[in-house]
Symmetry: C2
């Protein structure tokens, strides 16, 4: 999760909402990603999507069965869907997201009957660090 926080820091330094993600397989980091929706003009370029796409490319396979995803913020519906499509084994996330989160808030996607693959979910890892970075970013943007 420290590596995911570093990625979030990079997003912040680039003026993006600070969220970072890391894909790990067999104890090795396969890919990292940070939020780059503005830099790339890509509404799908959340940290999770960036990391999942990079990991699939790196491993040369469509699915990441057995891989785990660490992300500093609770995934939204788009990212939860992508995590399911990618067959991620375990999801570790930092701060909960009451507004856009879709894992333990809102649509609670993995609990939906139609969800075809559910990772194990562990929330609240390094929650304070992740949340503090987000708070700092939005406070700075408002002022």
């Amino acid at each position: 999760m420290d590596r995911a926080l570093e990625e979030a820091q990079r997003a912040m330094e680039a003026g993006e909402v600070p969220v970072g993600a890391v894909v790990v397989l067999d104890g090795v980091i396969v890919a990292t990603g940070n939020n780059r929706t503005r830099r790339d003009n890509d509404p799908t370029a959340h940290a999770e999507i960036v990391a999942l796409r990079a990991a699939a490319k790196q491993l040369d396979q469509e699915r990441l069965s057995g891989a785990d995803l660490f992300v500093t913020l609770e995934p939204c519906a788009m990212c939860a869907g992508a995590i399911s499509h990618a067959r991620i084994r375990r999801l570790y996330y930092g701060a909960g997201d009451e507004k856009m989160g879709a894992v333990d808030h809102g649509p609670r996607f993995f609990a939906a009957e139609t969800c075809h693959h559910r990772p194990e979910v562990y929330g609240g890892l390094a929650e304070e660090d992740a949340a503090a970075m987000l708070r700092g970013f939005f406070q700075a943007r408002r002022s």
Copy 2:
């Protein structure tokens, strides 16, 4: 929607689940996409995501406010989330998807309280053509 069906046909010819999508702004096609998860080894490369990313790149902007999306199959949670992030104005889809659909089935994402942008939704356009193509694909794969 004819153009979206053509895109679905292309996916089928490439051995992919036949789904196609088109982004239209001010009556002009801005971008198209077809499902290419296998070809690209990209679990996120559903037709909608491919089309939305291409449209945002084409327009050089993160959001597609005022643009409409035509897709041959009801979007899944990942794609519904992306449609919301992209600020799509109207969503027109073909066949309903009881298994993975997240608009009128499953999590019904746009109806969730936490959904921050809801397009107008029109389902069932060219439904039979879209559904027949999908049925044909899965029948051929099973046999």
